[in-house]
Each structure stands twice: as structure tokens, then as C-alpha cells.
């Protein structure tokens, strides 16, 4: 396969001394050499040309030189396009499907739900009194030994793609995918969810400290991910929790009781406001009344005093006449107002008359008087 060109007789070395036979042989050899040379050039060209490769969209290429990736971190990743490497066995190219942002949802802690129910947002029926079958419905145990459903959705990106690709395997066939690291992330997420739930009571998880619980899941996950060097960064971690469906009524009752409580409180507050408002207006009215009364009283007394001073001068002129005059004047005014006036003339003998009165304030309906004869 490997002819040595040096051992060949130099062609046309002795012109004139060549016979026709050897010339024909040389001719044949030369043409076959040309073919061999051509084939060799093609082989080398094919060998070098086989180094070209294309990286498709939504995947990255990694060049391995003698088994080790060329470049560090993100620079080891070749983007979509045409690239060249030395052919095997020097270089080797592996392609990894990588998308920017990854999402995962924990697989423990939630009741069994079909994709249709998930889309419709409904939940499978579970009448009160049915136990939870651990083979079907999953749940988490809370710090107070209760049962709750909870699931975490994690959004993350690959921070160290080389670690992700060369650190974890997805199957037994030695593929280069991110399925392996995703599996490790998923298990770690489940683990973190359990750990966090083990520290929170069912009330904290569901109502009182929802955000705290979410933070705890995230914290546990980040801790574990770092310890295990998963090579990812967490973008977001959402946690959803529910009471067991069997106890929906009981949990709703608590919520309703809370609502009723705030209603009772609001009613009390509005009543209180009414009472204090009424009292304050009443108080203002009393003070104002007193002010008015004071003014009126002082004015009246002042006017009286003034009038008295005027009267005094009249009185001083002739007291008797004044008294008589005033008395009569007053009596006449009074008598016009008096409803019944009874004049009791003095008896001739000067003894007082006896008078009998039927005291009845209510006016007696006058009876039709019989015609007096």
C-alpha cells in the first residue's frame, strides 16, 4: 500500500538506451503512481475536511481534545454555525441541547392530578373521610405532624455548563445531555421541599407565612445545590400549597370565621364611631347652650337693672301713687288672661263667705243645659 518512490528507477535517465519494454513498464508505473498519489491527496483532504462540523440551533458544541474540553466555562461552548476541529482521534465534538431557561416542577407533595384537570384548574374529588393512598397521592408532612400538599416550581439556568454536562449522566449509554443534571436538580428540589415543610406548621405554610415557606424552600435548595455543585443558578422558585382536599370544608370554616371576625370588628368600630360622634356633638350643644344661656341671663339682668334704675326715679317721686298705679296696671293685664273670675262680694255682716269648689283641672264637657223656666 505504501510504495516507496525512491526505489523506482529514475524515469528517462538514459535516453536512447531504453528498450520499448522497460519504457512501457515505466509508463504503467508512472500512471499508477499518479493514481496512488491522487488517492493519497484525497485521503488527506477527506481526513482534514472531516474536521468541519455544524452546530445546529438550540444546541451547543463542545470540542474535546484528547478527551478534555477545549476552553473554560462558557468559552468551551460553540454556538450554532460551522466549526472546524482536528479529526478523531485528536479532537472529538459533542453536541448538547441547551436552552436558556429551564423549568422544573417538584414531583412530590401534590395529589395525583391528570393533565386535563391541571389545565382546567380543577382538582380530583376527595370526599371527607377518605384516606390518602401514599401510592397515588403525594403530600408533605408539616412540622406539627400534619398533612399538606405543596409543590415548587423552579426556574434555573446552567451556570457552569461543563459541570452540568461532564458531572451528571442521564442514562447508561454515555450520551451528552442535560437530562442527568435535570434529574439531580429535580431530586434536590423535592428534597428541599421536604426539608422546608418539616420546619413549618400547616398554618404557617398555608396562610400565615406563605412567603417565608417559599423562601425556605429556595434557601434549602440553593444550599443543597451548592454543596452538590450542580452548576446551576436559581432564577425563581415558586411554591404553591394547599390543605388536603378532604379537609377543605374545615379549612374554609376557619377562613369564614376570620371574615366574620373582621365583620364583627368593623361593626363594632362603626358603632363606636357613631357613639363618640354623637357624644361630641351633644357635648358641643351643651356648651353652646350654656354659652347662650349665660349671654341671655346676663343681658336680661342687665336690662332689668337698667329698667329698675328708671323706675326708681318714678318711685321716688311718689311711692304710693306709683305702687297703686303699677298694681292696677298689672292686675288689669293679669285679669284679661285669667280664664274664670269669680267675684265674691263681702257679706253684709262682714263675716267671710263660705265657698265650695270642685277642683278639676280638666275642662268638663258642658252638658246641654236644660232650659231654665
Amino acid at each position: 500500500m505504501n510504495p516507496n518512490p525512491d526505489s523506482l528507477p529514475p524515469p528517462a535517465a538514459h535516453p536512447g538506451a531504453v528498450d520499448a519494454g522497460s519504457q512501457a513498464l515505466a509508463e504503467a508505473l508512472r500512471s499508477s503512481f499518479a493514481v496512488v498519489r491522487f488517492v493519497m491527496v484525497i485521503l488527506v483532504a477527506v481526513f482534514l475536511g472531516s474536521g468541519f462540523f455544524i452546530v445546529g440551533p438550540e444546541e451547543k458544541g463542545i470540542k474535546l481534545r484528547f478527551g478534555k474540553p477545549v476552553g473554560e466555562g462558557d468559552r468551551a461552548l460553540l454556538g450554532p454555525g460551522l466549526h472546524w476541529s482536528f479529526p478523531y482521534p485528536i479532537d472529538e465534538v459533542i453536541r448538547v441541547p441547551i436552552t436558556e431557561l429551564q423549568s422544573l416542577r417538584s414531583t412530590v407533595g401534590w395529589y395525583a392530578v391528570t393533565p386535563e384537570q391541571e389545565l382546567a384548574g380543577t382538582e380530583p374529588d376527595a370526599p371527607p373521610g377518605t384516606p390518602l393512598n401514599p401510592a397515588v397521592d403525594s403530600y408533605v408532612l408539616t412540622a406539627d405532624g400534619n398533612i399538606a400538599h405543596s409543590r415548587a416550581t423552579l426556574h434555573y439556568r446552567f451556570d457552569d455548563p461543563l459541570r452540568c454536562v461532564f458531572g451528571f449522566t442521564g442514562g447508561t449509554n454515555g450520551d451528552f445531555t442535560l437530562a442527568g443534571v435535570s434529574n439531580a436538580v429535580l431530586n434536590t428540589l423535592n428534597n428541599a421541599l421536604l426539608q422546608a415543610a418539616a420546619q413549618f406548621t400547616v398554618d404557617q405554610m398555608l396562610t400565615r407565612d406563605v412567603v417565608g415557606f417559599q423562601e425556605a424552600v429556595r434557601r434549602h435548595f440553593v444550599q443543597l445545590a451548592q454543596a452538590r455543585n450542580l452548576g446551576i443558578t436559581v432564577e425563581q422558585c415558586e411554591v404553591q400549597s394547599r390543605p388536603p382536599r378532604q379537609l377543605k370544608q374545615a379549612f374554609d370554616d376557619v377562613i369564614n370565621a376570620g371574615l366574620r371576625r373582621s365583620k364583627v370588628l368593623n361593626d363594632a368600630i362603626s358603632t363606636a364611631n357613631q357613639v363618640t360622634n354623637r357624644a361630641s356633638s351633644e357635648a358641643a350643644a351643651r356648651v353652646n347652650g350654656a354659652l347662650a344661656a349665660r349671654t341671655r341671663y346676663v343681658e336680661t339682668v342687665g336690662a332689668e337693672a337698667k329698667r329698675f334704675e328708671d323706675l326708681q326715679t318714678q318711685f321716688a317721686r311718689n311711692p304710693d301713687l306709683y305702687i297703686q298705679q303699677r298694681l292696677v296696671e298689672t292686675m288689669s293685664r293679669v285679669l284679661t288672661n285669667v280664664q274664670e273670675k269669680i267675684h265674691l262680694p263681702e257679706r253684709a255682716d262682714g263675716r267671710p263667705r263660705e265657698l265650695r269648689l270642685l277642683l278639676n283641672r280638666e275642662p268638663v264637657t258642658p252638658k246641654t243645659q236644660p232650659a231654665s223656666p
Binding site: G67, G174, L194, L247, V287, R294, Q312
Partner: protein, 301 residues
């Protein structure tokens, strides 16, 4: 001669490539390998790079994926130290570190065989560790008493110890509890307890609300009473002021007490006889005293 030397160079290159393909093999970053000579595992390779070997059938290379693979055991029931039934599921991240040990141990380096062995080790370790802890070590609001991490570490340590004694060429990278559960019949009891807890909460909310509302109303009533009392006091003070000011005018009346007295009495008469009154009088009452002297009874007098 020039063209010939080029041919030689190309030929040499082709030989070189052929030899490379025959005598050299690569181990990737993701792999460990073992080289067997006539079937006997001799060389262990645990770093990536190019390596030399004799061509088949003298030497053969077996490569293994050395990356971490995750394996989880079954969801099994075990008794805790305080006799609670607890279902646990553990996952483990393991990898092959020593191909030379791993290869002969599991019929040609079969990963499923290794997983079967791991499963056995895991369930032993899990059972032993779970039995040493109370249920309250698995779930507890008090971080001091919660031993979740410790339990995981202990299971891992136990599995690692067993792997070391067995010498399998496997390393455990991480281990954790993936799922916890209670037996189906126990969930019913838990639900009953939770229901009664809810009822306690409901009644507490009710009573608390009513008590608080009562307090709010009582406070308001007290405030109202205070306001009114203060206003009353103020009103009295104001009226007192008025009386004091009026009293300043009294000396005017004192100047002529007889007249003042007379005027007061007149006023009193006028006030008292204002409405619906009956007046009985004789001739001595002015102005009817006029009747006395001049009219009817003149003679009798």
C-alpha cells in the same frame, strides 16, 4: 525529487494516522476506563487524555461513564424509634470512580447490577437509621429538635461504609430523602386531628372577635360619657360665670329694696296667673276695691 518527497510525507502521515487509530485510545472527561490484557483488568485510567494500548486481541479497553447518576429506592415503610410507621424514599447520586474495581465486580461493569446492589444497601441503611429516630426528628418546628439533615447524613455514612467494605469502586456524591409519608390508615387519624384543630381555631376566632368588638364598644361608650361629663362641667362653669356677672348688678337693686321687692311680686303674680287660672276675689282686691265703697254695699257699710 521534490514531488517524490511530498508523496513520502503524505504517505508517512497516512501511516501515522493508521497507527494512531490502532494503538491510541482516548478517555473523555466523562469517563473512566480499564484496560484488560487477555481479559485480565490491568490498567486503571481515571483521567481524561490519550493513552496507548496494544491492538485487539491483546488488549481491550472498557470505558465507563463516571458522571453522577441519580438513583432512587422504593417508597418503603419503616418503624421509627417511637413506633410510628413512616414511609420514606431516598435518592442517591453515585458515580463510578474506579473502573478496575468496578468492572469485575458487576458482571462486565453492568450499571443495573450496581443499582440492584445499591438498592439493597440503601434499604438496610434506611431501615437502621429511621429506627433510631423519633418521628419528631423528621418533622419539627423547633430547629434544635429537627434532625432531618442528620438523618440524611447518617444514612449516607452507613451506605458509604458498606461500600468501602465491599470495595466496589463506587462513590456516593449525595443522598437525600425524597419523599416522606404515613400509611394510608394513619392519614385518616391525622385528618381527624387536623379537623379538630380547625374547629378550635374557628371558635377562637369567633370569641376573640366578639371580645374585641365588645372592648371597642365599651371604650367608645366610656369616651362618650367622658366627653359629656366634660361638656357638662364646662356648661356649669359658663353658667356660673353668667351668674357671677349678674351678681355684679345686684347692688343696683339693693339701692331700693322696697321697690325691688314690689316689682318682683308683681312679676310673680303675672307669671303665675298667665294661663288657665281661676281667680276668686272680693272687694278688697284692687282694682275691685272700687266696688266696695261706691256701689252695692255702700249702705251696709
Amino acid at each position: 525529487m521534490k514531488r517524490n518527497s511530498l508523496t513520502v510525507a503524505i504517505g508517512a502521515l497516512l501511516i501515522l494516522i493508521f497507527a494512531l487509530l490502532l494503538f491510541v485510545f482516548q478517555v473523555r472527561q466523562s469517563e473512566v476506563a480499564v484496560v484488560t490484557t487477555f481479559g485480565d483488568p490491568k490498567r486503571n485510567i481515571d483521567a481524561p487524555g490519550p493513552y496507548l494500548k496494544w491492538p485487539w486481541p491483546i488488549q481491550r479497553v472498557y470505558k465507563f461513564d463516571q458522571r453522577i447518576q441519580t438513583f432512587e429506592d422504593k417508597f418503603t415503610e419503616g418503624l421509627t424509634a417511637d413506633n410510628n410507621n413512616l414511609l420514606t424514599m431516598v435518592y442517591v447520586g453515585w458515580r463510578i470512580v474506579d473502573a478496575k474495581t468496578f468492572f469485575p465486580k458487576f458482571a462486565g461493569g453492568s450499571v443495573p447490577a450496581a443499582e440492584r446492589m445499591l438498592e439493597g444497601l440503601l434499604s438496610n441503611a434506611k431501615g437502621a437509621v429511621v429506627g433510631r429516630y423519633d418521628l419528631s426528628a423528621f418533622v419539627n418546628a423547633d430547629p434544635e429538635q429537627l434532625k432531618f439533615d442528620e438523618i440524611e447524613r447518617e444514612i449516607q455514612a452507613m451506605v458509604e461504609a458498606q461500600l468501602r467494605t465491599n470495595d466496589c469502586g463506587i462513590k456516593i456524591e449525595f443522598l437525600g430523602i425524597k419523599k416522606l409519608g404515613l400509611p394510608e390508615s394513619v392519614t385518616q387519624t391525622v385528618f381527624e386531628r387536623m379537623t379538630s384543630e380547625r374547629q378550635v381555631l374557628v371558635s377562637r376566632l369567633q370569641n376573640e372577635g366578639e371580645a374585641q368588638a365588645e372592648k371597642i364598644r365599651a371604650t367608645a361608650n366610656r369616651q362618650a360619657a367622658e366627653m359629656l361629663a366634660a361638656a357638662e362641667a364646662e356648661a356649669t362653669r359658663i353658667r356660673g360665670q353668667g351668674e357671677a356677672r349678674a351678681a355684679e348688678l345686684l347692688p343696683v337693686f339693693e339701692k331700693n329694696a322696697a321697690l325691688a321687692n314690689f316689682e318682683l311680686r308683681l312679676q310673680a303674680i303675672e307669671q303665675s296667673l298667665k294661663e288657665r287660672s281661676t281667680l276668686i276675689f272680693d272687694e278688697r282686691t284692687p282694682p275691685f276695691d272700687l266696688f266696695q265703697g261706691y256701689l252695692t254695699n255702700r249702705n251696709s257699710k
